[in-house]
Amino acid sequence: MSTVAPSETPPRATTSHARELNRWWVVKLAVMALLNAGLLYAAYSALMVQEWAILGFTAVLLVVVNWVYVSRRMVPAKYLLPGIVFLLVYQVFTMGYTAYIAFTNYGSENTIRKDQAIEQILRTGDVRVEGAADLPLAVVRDEAGDLGFAVVVDGVVQAGTAEEPLEPVGGATVGGNGAPEEVPGWTVLNLGQILEVQSEVTALRVPFSDDPADGWVRTQTGSVGFQSSPRYSYDEATDTFTDLTTEVVYTPNDRGFFAAPDGSRLTPGWPVTVGFENFQRMLTDSRISSALLQAGAWTFAFAFLSVATTFFLGLFLAMTFNHPGVRGRKVIRSLLILPYAFPGFLAALVWRGMLNNPYGFINSTILGGADIPWLTEEWLARFSIIAVNLWLGFPYMFLIATGALQAVPGDVYEAARLDGASAFRQFRSITLPLLMISVAPLLIASFAFNFNNFNLIYFVTEGGPNIPGHPLALGETDILISVVYKVAVVAGTKQYGLAAAMSIVIFLIVGLVSWLGFRQTRKLEEVL
């Protein structure tokens, strides 16, 4: 508010402070210059790699940014723009892209574009003719400037281009490395010249003879060639592959593969949209649906218990150390925040080591060699997870509860005491309701965070202990997001489409819970 007000009060027609050529003007100029430089460079890079969507976005952004910040009006927009841009880039785009992936079969064999897949199928089918020897080779150009190869076959120098099969060349000489050195009628390229056209050189195929069955000569290095023959031919007009030995025709199917009538297919494929298939699989594939139900129940329990335990411990400590009678409050408070200052994943790893049975610190030292399967028994593992999360999470709750308690006016307690309310009654009827108004949104956020607390699960138990014989190799403490990771990312075949669909379902669940939570919070405020 205070930032907008001054620009309204001074007479607008004369001089605005933004127009004075002072120190700040220079700073603003530098910032705008950097911004423009960054955006122009991004647009240039996008143009170079032909990413039209990114180019369009940066171009629009460039115009909007300059328009908003150079213009004299649009004061609110000057403040809103950065937030909106970040919202678009980090939220809207990510969500939109995830949603898009959820409707595709993007995964293991379907990651590259169709044109790349076609090229790759041609490339992998083009193998050395059985027993063919290495041919010393030189890259040459004919008089018309077309690229060709000169190779030494059985002591005879032969040369040809993509159109003209190899023909012996009279009067050619062979250099010290065994490759043709001078080829009359052809220009031999040196290394620098070859490197300038290296993609063309590796793509060049010179027919070995007039008979197509002999295959062609190609090179990987520019100095050694070999005779190879293609397995498939691609027809651009019909968009089909033909196996040159069996005559089987492969046509593109709706799964993003070239497939033969008998169902066999060429890999790799490319991603295609598959409609609601990924969502359907979550319901119809009993392995996935039962896993989601089981992990879902535990996820809710884990997230709820994590919030509840950390909040009540944090609140208890906050109230204790908020009491003026406690000595050394500042020191104790600082110490209590320590777990919060510790990197979470590191703490989780340390806890995992300490809870190992029997070699961990807790069993071997603290409990004097006890045999307690902290992380390998189903319920103890769940307990351990929540206990570790309590250790990690209570300082945060302690901090916010301490802050919120300062805001509760002391006279309310005084009035309560005069009315004869007990300490517990004061807590239940005054402290907690008043605290909830400010803290409830943070509890909801904490719930959403813990709902997807992948780090903790992955570093403490990796989802274990294993459920013996589980069809997806899941563990007892796997939460939904670690199920997604195990099913769609680490298990042999990557199924990013399925992973995206599952993430969207998780997003909807978290969104729904948060929405219900915030609605409850609003009711709390109405009470006040």
Binding site: A37, E109, Q116, T221, S223, N357, N466
Partner: protein, 418 residues
């Protein structure tokens, strides 16, 4: 007042353009060119990007300097955590942003090929110099995809200070281990999720390989670990697990096994060359022996081959191939890679020279002779989790009926492979 805006806009734009041309000029067009063949970038004086892990980066830097001097191009070696190379390459290669060459393991081949991100590379005459297992390892559906540099496998490592027995069967080893009087008879790293890789020689000694093979020894995507042989192995696991002899223990993780052996608490451990320096640093005298057989047949460990892959979208394929075939596949570079990473060189000449005066290397090489290449089938990725956890469940006694648990695992893997 208008002038103020004009000055601001004009000077802003000028500065921006100046900054832009400076930045754009320094950037090499070949590295950020993602579109493939449409724009053929000038490659002379271009950049070849290699992703290598920390043990490979050093030796590669030396040969890269030579290559740079000979060809007038720049090689950029990006050091990455070995385990991050595959996922990041799979994510970046399709966009054209990936490196030209990566260091990898041969069992990645199936996944990389079926995703279409690696280019075939014909070894030509170079292949003759490599160990046969190393060349075969990178072959997939009739084409070769990698240039090998190192071979590794696990073996039985003995603490010479505790025993001098050279057991050939499990029972002999247990007997010798008990006689040695250490805290443990034998150490095999497992952990709560199991470790099927370290367990594999014992499994093969029961005649239950993970996948069936055709007559040429290539793996077929047909599971072969079930049946009677698999059931016998499952029972053996239970007999030696927590409810049996207790020799196998899921509490023994990789770190714990290494530490206990280094502390002299066990006479035998099954491990790889990567742990030997930790043992010798701890003052142990160790010998490397073939893995003893538990089920009567030969105990064949997995042989892993490490090598280099070339990006299918690489603009510098010619340079990349030349670098790998003519510069890296040499005695000096393979020896340097061995000295840095400890893996037996794929180049027979280099391996023989090293094995001649290093009994440890000779021991691992001998143990690896009976080994089988780790399957590079795409389906292999779906096997590990089920495999390891089921073994762990049987060992820990969580799966009370070992044969049934093993059969369930086979069914689950079959379900995952589809």
């Amino acid at each position: 007042m208008r002038r103020g805006i004009m000055i601001a806009a004009a000077s802003g734009l000028t500065l921006a353009l100046a900054a832009c041309s400076g930045g754009g000029g320094g950037e090499d067009p070949t590295t950020d060119d993602a579109t493939g063949e449409e724009t053929s970038a000038p490659a002379a004086g271009g950049t070849l990007t290699i992703w290598a892990d920390e043990l490979r980066a050093g030796p590669l830097a030396d040969v890269a300097a030579q290559f740079e001097a000979d060809n007038g191009i720049t090689i950029e070696i990006v050091q990455k955590n070995f385990d991050d190379i595959r996922p990041e390459f799979l994510a970046q290669a399709p966009t054209g942003e990936g490196p030209d060459i990566i260091v990898g393991a041969h069992d990645w081949t199936g996944e990389l090929v079926s995703s279409g991100v690696v280019a075939p590379i014909d070894l030509g005459a170079t292949a003759d110099g490599f160990a046969e297992v190393a060349v075969n390892a990178f072959s997939y559906e009739g084409a070769n995809y990698g240039v090998p540099y190192g071979i590794e496998n696990i073996a039985l490592v003995r603490n010479d200070g505790m025993t001098d027995a050279s057991p050939t069967t499990w029972d002999e080893m247990v007997e010798a281990g008990e006689a040695a009087g250490g805290e443990h008879v034998f150490l095999l790293q497992q952990g709560d999720a199991g470790d099927a890789y370290h367990m594999y020689p014992f499994q093969t000694s029961f005649g239950a390989p993970v996948f069936a093979t055709d007559e040429s020894g290539s793996y077929l995507p047909e599971l072969a670990l079930g049946g009677e042989a698999g059931a016998a192995f499952a029972n053996w696991l239970a007999e030696n697990g927590s409810n049996g002899s207790g020799i196998l223990d899921t509490a023994i993780t990789a770190d714990i096994a290494k530490e206990k052996f280094a502390n002299g608490e066990a006479p035998f451990i099954v491990t790889g060359p990567w742990n030997i320096s930790a043992f010798t640093d701890a003052g142990l005298e160790v010998s490397v022996l073939p893995v003893p057989s538990a089920g009567g047949e030969t105990a064949a460990p997995f042989v892993g081959v490490q090598g280099f892959f070339v990006n299918a979208q690489s603009e510098n394929a010619l340079l990349a191939n030349t670098f790998l075939l003519d510069y890296v596949s040499t005695l000096e570079v393979h020896t340097a890679l061995y000295e840095s990473g400890g893996r037996i060189p794929a180049l027979t000449e280099a391996a023989d020279a090293i094995a001649a005066d290093d009994p440890i290397v000779e021991g691992f090489a001998a143990a690896g002779e009976v080994g089988v290449p780790m399957p590079s089938l795409r389906q292999m990725g779906a096997v590990w989790d089920f495999w390891g956890t089921t073994q762990a469940d049987i060992i820990s006694g969580d799966a009370s009926d070992p044969e049934a648990a093993w059969q369930t695992m086979v069914d689950n893997i079959q379900g995952a492979i589809g």
